[in-house]
């Protein structure tokens, strides 16, 4: 046996020689290899290295830098001892963090769902952008429509647009075997330039009131999502947060309690075995990608209706919410609970390092946002190296069963 899993007797899926252990199979192994401890260690380690970079390259104190970032996230709202004025600021920051978390949960799910089917959806960014583009087009036209159906229409069409884009990649994978990593990346760039065409100066959907700004029209005022915490004018937390939570629950139910979820996971573990069992691999590739696209498209639509209210070319071309979704899914190990917490972590990180929230006297926000990227890369690097995890897992096994005979690895 040439594979990793073939080596260890406890491995869930002894993979036959000649087939690639699918991503999902590896993650399942990973899943069993320890609780929340490993992702936690991974995160701490990534932050530690990030801190070293801060210290070595910029000669700043990493602890005070991280403290400033932490205060920018608003998570200190949960501390009972802070003063009233601090609490007001913290609440404001926390709302911004949770708005980002909302989008990250959904883009994280977009990556996670495809992962469970053995597909790597790097196209979350394009699907998110297309969802936002379609939602802003729908919500800014037909202004006579009543609010609630207009909101629903925008969100549904935005999600569908994401589903179409991702589903196209799934279809190509299913029919001609085009690698989804390449196709989704290409689709990302196509959407990127599509936004430049639509909302650029002189573009067909560019703002009718500001001729010199590359931005879309404002969405109709009655399509704004209801803000339930904070000031609606200062970007309070909107009800889209509950849509994201609902999506997490739906994700768990679909994967673990439906035939579709069973088939998706079966294909993810081993496409060949699934095919022998009579499961259509092609259909599941398409469906898994389409559902992933729904999540990412939903994120784009909710962001537009919840707090952006318009889409600028810069918004689309500078956005990285979809890419952060990859790190969210991998760190959250593609489980509903894990995705929630890692979305919170990255939402906090992005918000805490934003120009608005980070005190430039302590640390330059432009540097900090690159630090965020670095930490993401490190998290992915360590999460991807599941051998480390398996090593931990084996050690745990040894501790539990004392001198259990194991083949030398």
């Amino acid at each position: 046996m040439s594979d990793l899993s073939g080596e260890t007797p406890e491995a869930p899926e002894p993979t036959p020689e000649g087939t690639i252990p699918s991503v999902a199979a590896r993650l399942a192994l990973y899943q069993r290899a320890g609780g929340f401890i490993v992702p936690l260690i991974t995160t701490v380690f990534a932050f530690f290295i990030g801190g070293l970079v801060v210290l070595v390259v910029t000669h700043k104190n990493p602890i005070s830098t991280y403290k400033a970032i932490f205060n920018g996230t608003g998570l200190n709202w949960f501390f009972p001892w802070i003063s009233h004025s601090e609490r007001v600021t913290a609440a404001f920051n926390l709302q911004a963090t949770l708005i980002l978390t909302t989008a990250l949960i959904l883009t994280g799910l977009a990556v996670a769902f495809a992962f469970r089917c053995g597909l790597f959806n790097i196209g979350g960014q394009g699907q998110y952008n297309l969802g936002a583009i379609v939602a802003v087009l729908v919500a800014s036209s037909w202004t006579g429509m009543p609010g609630v159906p207009h909101i629903l229409l925008s969100i549904v069409l935005g999600a569908l647009a994401g589903a179409l884009l991702a589903g196209f990649a799934g279809l190509l994978k299913a029919t001609v075997g085009a690698h989804e990593v390449i196709t989704t990346i290409m689709l990302n760039w196509i959407v990127f330039w599509l936004a430049g065409y639509l909302f650029g100066i002189g573009g067909p959907a560019q703002s009718s009131t500001q001729a010199s700004v590359p931005v879309s029209n404002e969405i109709a005022p009655n399509t704004h999502l209801h803000v339930f915490w904070g000031n609606p004018i200062l970007q309070g937390l909107h009800i889209g947060f509950f849509i994201a939570i609902g999506a997490l629950v739906a994700y768990w139910i679909i994967l673990n309690r439906t035939t579709l979820g069973f088939e998706v996971r079966a294909v993810g573990f081993n496409p060949e075995a699934a095919r022998y069992a009579g499961i259509s691999v092609a259909k599941n590739y398409f469906l898994a990608m389409a559902i992933a696209g729904v999540c990412a498209g939903l994120a784009g639509a909710i962001d537009v209706l919840g707090w952006k209210f318009r889409v600028g070319v810069d918004d689309v071309q500078g956005s990285s919410i979809g890419f952060i979704g990859i790190a969210v899914a991998l760190l959250g190990r593609n489980t509903a609970v894990g995705v929630f917490f890692s979305a919170l972590l990255f939402g906090a990180l992005v918000n805490g390092t934003s120009t608005r929230n980070l005190d430039p006297n302590i640390f330059q926000p432009e540097l900090a946002s690159n630090l965020t990227l670095m930490i993401q890369g490190l998290v992915l690097l360590f999460v991807g190296a599941d051998v480390i995890v398996i090593y931990f897992w084996r050690t745990r096994g040894k501790l539990a069963f004392w001198r259990r005979s194991e083949p030398a690895g």
Binding site: S2, G177, V181, W189, W193, I201, L367, L373, G377, L378
Partner: protein, 406 residues
């Protein structure tokens, strides 16, 4: 069996009637339909593109019905596109066409756009042929771009800058290799991580060293090679007369990499490790060492491409300057079926679409955002390519699979 053997080993006339050849002819005719409407011929009547385009579609249908489906559909698509674009071109004013379609300038620009891709794609070949998927090419290029500028800035020499760029790409690739080979991590996840890391590291260093002012403008750049005797030669002169040193190096690299990969024992070793690592290990080839060498070489070459981009082409650096070129290089590699000349041809195609996208704004009136959409052309082409109009590419058999020594 006999007929097959015949088509395989010579007898060109038998080959000529094959459905695949008919399909290829159709694709050629489709391109011709468009070309007729462009300078220097620039036919003004729409009939010629339609006539040739219909011939292309006919050839496509003939090929499809004879069993060469993929090529046939490609020919039909090329024919229809040829008619559409040809008709479009006959409708536009000759002046517009002449400013956009200056073939020699377009081709020189194609080479400039293709070179970063060529370096990265050839680099990717060394990694992928040894069995390691290299999504991290983008990150390697980005490292090369930044450290090329940074190195040239601090040492005051473009050559040392280039050297530092190559070393930086190799260093990143070394991390990549360690995680993929020793830790046997999922290669696609690690490649993505490498890209994030490079984006963060180069962005961080760029901001901390150059801040808001951007990269300095007085950096020694990689020189162009000017051939005075060539410059006045018709058509060839404007293309090859003043190319950058790195472009010539990229030509050399393609030839050299072909020889190394397919005509030397080293190449045989790399390929055998990528196809069947167990067998290679059995005959005494070190799988780990070969893969390390492959990944690190790819990092160095991709970084050279990145350094050309910053030091030889745009002469500056900005955050995420590569803007997805690493991924296009990867697509070119797949398009070119993991072969040097195939990958180079694909890079030229992508370079051409970039060059065209660059010049097309002249075609449209001021204040129109239509030219923007042509920036998506390389990506659409890649999609079509990957979707298999040119036939399925078969990757090295052991690609993406970590190897465990026994």
């Amino acid at each position: 069996m006999n007929a097959r053997a015949e088509t395989r080993f010579g007898n060109g006339w038998v080959r000529f009637g094959q459905p695949r050849s008919i399909g290829m002819l159709g694709i050629g005719l489709g391109l011709l339909a468009f070309w007729l409407a462009l300078p220097p011929l620039a036919t003004r009547t729409v009939l010629w593109p339609i006539f040739v385009g219909i011939l292309a579609v006919g050839a496509g249908i003939a090929a499809t019905s004879r069993g060469a489906g993929r090529v046939g559909w490609g020919a039909i698509a090329a024919g229809l596109a040829g008619i559409a674009f040809g008709a479009l071109a006959t409708r536009s004013s000759l002046g517009h066409l002449n400013t956009v379609v200056v073939w020699s300038a377009l081709l020189a620009s194609t080479l400039r756009y293709a070179t970063p891709l060529t370096f990265a794609a050839i680099g990717g070949m060394f990694s992928e042929r040894s069995g390691v998927v290299n999504i991290g090419l983008e990150g390697d290029m980005l490292m090369g771009s930044f450290f090329g500028i940074y190195g040239a800035d601090i040492t005051g020499s473009w050559f040392l800058g280039l050297l530092i760029a190559i070393l930086s790409g190799m260093l990143l690739a070394l991390i990549h290799a360690f995680f993929c080979i020793n830790l046997r991590a999922d290669q696609i996840v690690i490649g993505t991580a490498i890209n994030f890391l490079a984006l963060g590291v180069t962005g961080y260093l760029f901001v901390s060293h150059y801040g808001a002012n951007g990269a300095p403008t007085s950096i020694p750049v990689i020189p162009d090679i000017t051939f005075n005797w060539l410059q006045n030669v018709y058509f060839i002169g404007p293309i090859f007369g003043g190319l950058n040193l790195m472009i010539w190096l990229s030509f050399l690299l393609v030839i050299l990499s072909y020889i190394v990969m397919f005509r030397t024992p080293i190449g045989l070793r790399i390929r055998s490790v990528g196809e069947h690592p167990r067998a290679a290990d059995t005959v005494g080839i070190s799988v780990y060492a070969t893969r390390y060498a492959g990944v690190v070489t790819s990092g160095g070459l991709a970084a050279m491409g990145g350094a050309y981009l910053s030091l030889g082409f745009v002469h500056t650096f900005d955050q995420n300057i590569t803007g997805g070129r690493g991924f296009i290089a990867l697509a070119a590699l797949i398009f070119g079926k993991w072969r040097p000349f195939g990958a180079f041809a694909a890079c030229l195609l992508f370079g051409f679409s970039s060059a065209l996208g660059d010049r097309l704004p002249d075609y449209f009136s001021q204040g129109s955002s239509v030219p923007v959409i042509f920036n998506a052309l390389p990506y659409v082409l890649t999609l079509i390519a990957v979707a298999g109009v040119v036939g399925r590419s078969i990757p090295p058999a052991a690609i993406g699979r970590p190897y465990v020594k026994q």
